[in-house]
């Protein structure tokens, strides 16, 4: 599939709308209407470009935002739940636990104990560019060396 410049621009606009958390959240159909595409084509084109449906993208964005707020440690779980657009603490906790693998409160605790410098994000949960390399086992680097030696032969 080839997307035109205009369609690309519209889908990027839709992506921004999905991430926004206004008082009155737009439905997927309303977002499709805002970018002048039928809901069917919107979902199909969005998934082709971004690899997930608009609904999945919205959920992931809200959980990513929740992780960030929990990790900074300045908000309660209830505050975070409201801040990212959930109205029910139960459904937020349930979704967070299913997707992230730990409850919001446990995640917050994990982040707090791994912060080395106040005000910074824990490297373990929010790795920077290529920083994961520093956490590899020694055998990984042996593999790199072996690969290099093999290539050099």
């Amino acid at each position: 599939m080839i997307v035109t410049r205009e369609t690309f621009r519209r889908l990027c606009r839709a992506r921004d709308l999905l991430v926004e958390i206004p008082e009155e959240r737009l439905s997927i159909a309303e977002i499709a209407q805002k970018i002048d595409v039928s809901p069917f084509h919107f979902i199909r084109q969005f998934q082709s470009l971004f690899g997930v449906t608009p609904h999945q993208y919205r959920i992931r964005s809200r959980l990513d935002r929740a992780k960030l707020l929990l990790a900074t440690g300045e908000h309660s779980v209830t505050d975070v739940c409201m801040e990212v657009g959930f109205s029910s603490l139960g459904s937020f906790s349930d979704l967070f636990t299913r997707r992230i693998g730990t409850s919001p409160s446990a995640y917050q605790h994990q982040a707090r104990v791994s912060v080395q410098v106040p005000g910074t994000l824990p490297q373990k949960l929010f790795p920077g560019c290529l920083s994961l390399m520093g956490c590899l086992p020694p055998t990984a680097f042996r593999n790199f060396r072996e690969a290099r030696l093999t290539t050099a032969r």
């Binding site: 997307v3 690309f8 992506r15 971004f50 949960l125 560019c129 290539t151």
Partner: protein
């Protein structure tokens, strides 16, 4: 000093691995679990350089990635021998292109979405 590994940020490492191997045709090289994420790299069957598929978990990285994408700027370029062939092959696999093959100075380029938040340029030298 040598260039051995370069990286690209992805929004989901599992999805990225499927795209870069099953769709593009690279091969998985390293896959080590590191906390919530992985040290995950792929290589081309034609060369030893590794491409790390790193998580865009850091908000700074995500902001950069989203901005580059919205501006239509590719974050990596892969060389191909026959860009028309690759374009047809990948399109048949459902890959979305934002630019079809077109001459650009000394190269012919096309741009595709990797479905993980990035635009990737394919180029064929003249």
């Amino acid at each position: 000093m040598r260039i051995r590994i370069t990286s690209i940020m992805v929004d989901n490492q599992e999805k990225a691995l499927r795209f870069y191997t099953d769709v593009l045709g690279f091969q998985k090289k390293h896959d080590f679990p590191v906390g919530d994420y992985k040290w995950l790299t792929v290589v081309s069957p034609e060369g030893p350089k590794e491409l790390a598929l790193e998580p865009n978990a850091n908000p700074a990285g995500k902001t950069f990635q989203e901005a580059m994408f919205a501006q239509g700027i590719p974050v990596a370029a892969f060389e191909v021998d026959d860009i028309r062939y690759e374009y047809a092959r990948l399109k048949a696999r459902g890959v979305v292109f934002t630019n079809e093959p077109a001459k650009a100075g000394p190269v012919t380029i096309a741009v595709l979405s990797d479905t993980c938040g990035n635009l990737i340029e394919l180029y064929q030298p003249a």
